[in-house]
């Protein structure tokens, strides 16, 4: 339709959670009333969640944004002639000029928001599958070499060098190998896997195909959490389109390469985000973690050599092959190379996804991008890296985002989630919650995690109630040591991180709790 106007309304969890579907419907019906021909495109989100629902209109080849829109604004937008880019109090101008987006280093998320996520045509016209095409012309050794050169480390949280993992699987002998993508994004404050899978799903598919080429695997699994129903819907559509268009299956695009992907849905267990528990769950069992060794790279899914990578790790791969590993490595600092899709969450004015090179400080992220707290009060604590990450006080905000710098401060970057709390937070309650969450989610295999977490809640309760405080603080320290030393995985092994950081940086919340009797 030559004169049809393109209107973009995101089909993405955050936008939809704020009424994007109803807004899209209202725009369509008012356009009919106005006898205006529009094409409604359900794009992904640009990640500027505080502006959601953010809609765009294409005027003279440029995309003009309006937001945040609520259903009541739609009629008003028509009055303001927004389909021609008319002025309105919610007009934001060209989306690419918004500083929040303009100041990012978009690598993995370069197409997110731009395209219709389930259109193969859109994907291919924006560089899609170019990475795979490049890879088909390379030897497997050369592909792995490029990944090693890029310095890419696992974005799920552990930060293990991806190239070395792939090399291990490539070297392992086995008649069958697998690529298992971990999309069990359970950390509070994180949503980058979800946004990528909703906004640019073919990019993940392409990353998995490249991994398959590199290590000699022809089967891939994606383990997606059940708390993401819309992601499942969008990703399933993308998966079907890829199959229909011959980008999955046998002899892909005449290359002779075969690759299949199955989507599995989790069932509400946080521990299934741990790689061996995820493999158990993919095999149809309870998500109880495995001993390591053997590493999944040697004996993984169904006992076969398996690459287990996070969504963002895999989705970063296609552009590494297109632009070169050296290019990716120009971003970042020290041993943290490339970009990370940070997620600003909790009590923050401008929450959303910020893809930046490593090295940016927490303060730059939270203040320059995030604009401080949503409540306008002072920042008191920031939890980085999910429920197993440490709480940092305000005076540590100048720490650069770098895996090693965080490790030195007994913290983690994890999957890049940054949750901000204002000065109303009670840090003893947060420490208690860390233990409580561990008690709820422990798979039960290791006693220090299963029972230690329950004892941890009790000890913190006694400290807060001023019962033998000094002895109980000492006991809590010992309990944390036992959990760290005696747990097989990060659930029990890292729950002490938030607990200890809360005691270390916010001792006043444990020593003089509100209303406590001395």
């Amino acid at each position: 339709m030559a004169n049809s106007i393109n209107v973009f309304v995101p089909r993405e969890t955050s936008a939809v959670s704020l009424g994007a579907n109803e807004i899209g419907d209202r725009i369509l019906s008012l356009a009919v009333n106005n006898k205006t021909d529009i094409t409604l495109i359900r794009n992904g989100s640009w990640g500027m969640c505080w502006l959601e629902p953010l809609i765009e209109v294409e005027v003279n080849g440029e995309r003009i944004a309006y937001g945040p829109i609520c259903i009541e604004d739609v009629a008003d937008l028509f009055k303001a002639d927004f389909l021609k880019g008319g002025d309105h109090k919610l007009k934001l101008g060209k989306v690419s000029d918004i500083p929040y987006l303009k100041n990012q280093d978009r690598w993995t998320f370069k197409r997110c928001g731009l395209i219709d996520p389930v259109s193969i045509h859109d994907y291919c016209s924006n560089g899609g599958f170019d990475g795979f095409t490049v890879a088909t012309k390379m030897s497997t050794a050369k592909i792995i070499e490029e990944i090693k050169k890029s310095g890419l480390r696992g974005r799920g949280g552990a930060g293990f060098p991806t190239g070395i993992k792939w090399q291990t699987v490539a070297n392992a002998s086995g008649d069958q190998k697998y690529i298992a993508c971990n999309a069990d994004e359970g950390d509070s404050g994180t949503f980058s896997d979800r946004m990528l899978m909703e906004g640019d799903p073919f990019c993940l598919i392409e990353g998995m195909m490249i991994a398959g080429l590199a290590v000699g695997a022809n089967r891939g699994y994606i383990y997606l959490r059940s708390e993401y129903p819309l992601t499942r819907e969008i990703f399933s559509e993308a998966l079907n389109s890829a199959k229909d268009a011959g980008w999955l299956g046998k002899n892909i695009q005449g290359t002779g390469f075969e690759f299949e992907i199955d989507l599995h849905i989790g069932a509400g267990s946080y521990v299934c985000g741990e790689e061996t528990a995820m493999l158990e769950s993919l095999e149809g069992k309870a998500g109880i973690i495995r001993y390591r060794p053997p590493l999944p790279a040697i004996e993984g899914l169904f006992g076969k050599p398996t690459v287990v990578n996070n969504v963002i790790t895999l989705a970063s791969v296609p552009d590494i092959l297109i632009k070169g590993g050296d290019n990716y490595a120009t971003f970042g600092i020290d041993r943290s190379r490339g970009t990370l899709a940070f997620q600003l969450a909790g009590n923050i004015k401008r929450g959303g996804l910020v893809e930046k090179a490593f090295g940016i400080t927490l303060r730059e992220l939270i203040e320059d991008f995030g604009g401080g707290t949503a409540t306008g009060r002072d920042i008191r604590a920031v939890q980085i890296g999910g429920p197993l990450g440490a709480y940092f006080p305000e005076n540590l905000l100048d720490t650069p985002l770098d895996y090693e710098a965080f490790a030195e401060l007994e913290g983690i970057i994890g999957h890049g989630g940054v949750v901000v709390f204002d000065d109303s937070v009670d840090m003893a309650a947060q420490a208690r919650f860390a233990m409580e969450f561990c008690a709820i989610e422990s798979c039960g295999k290791c006693t220090p995690c299963r029972i230690g977490s329950v004892r941890g809640i009790e000890v913190i309760d006694r400290i807060v109630a001023n019962k033998n405080r000094d002895e109980n603080l000492k006991l809590l320290e010992e309990l944390c040591d036992t959990m760290v030393d005696g747990s097989l995985c990060a659930m029990g092994g890292m729950t002490p991180f938030p607990v200890r950081s809360a005691i270390k940086h916010f001792p006043e919340d444990f020593i003089h709790p509100p209303g406590a009797k001395n």
Binding site: S14, C49, G189, G268, Q343, G346, V419, V420, C443
Partner: protein, 157 residues
């Protein structure tokens, strides 16, 4: 559409997904989606079809939060209790919801209309606090918005 467990529909579901042990978690997920919960009869049926013991199936069912063995209310409301939502008042929202509905977390209202449950992260953390009603997520939920959502459920039911 939720339907009552019946052998024919269940058989169809199992064989569509694949009657192999590695599909057990997926089959159980599908049972919850279709029949609202996993009954003892369903466990027996799945065990038979997959050539597993009932204990094997029960072990998996009892592990996962999603694999409920009791029917929930007509509407299932989950309120996020994780850190990001806590930072934006999810605890007071939870108290508000409990008072409004007259039930605690993990309880169903006496008329069988609403079940209230905790959830740990819906991935809508930049729009906290978040809740989920059936399969739909809502963001920036304060007490007024919660009232509106409850009113629309009551109208629908």
């Amino acid at each position: 559409m939720k339907v009552t467990y019946n052998k024919v529909a269940a058989d169809k579901l199992i064989h569509e997904i694949g009657a192999t042990p590695e599909m057990l978690v997926q089959i159980l997920n599908a049972f919850v989606e279709k029949f609202s919960y996993i009954s003892k009869e369903a466990i027996r049926h799945i065990a038979h079809e997959l050539n597993l013991s009932r204990a094997d199936v029960h072990g998996v069912v009892s592990y996962y939060h999603d694999h409920r063995t009791e029917p929930p209310g007509k509407s299932l409301i989950k309120i996020c209790q994780a850190e990001s939502c806590q930072a934006m008042g999810s605890i007071s929202l939870t108290t508000y919801a409990q008072d409004l509905l007259g039930i605690q977390l993990n309880e169903t209202s006496a008329d069988g209309e609403i079940t209230l449950e905790p959830v740990y992260c819906l991935g809508n953390c930049a729009c906290s606090p978040a809740i989920m009603i059936d399969k739909r997520i809502y963001g920036r939920v304060n007490s007024e918005r919660f009232d509106t959502l409850i009113a629309s459920i009551q109208k629908k039911n």
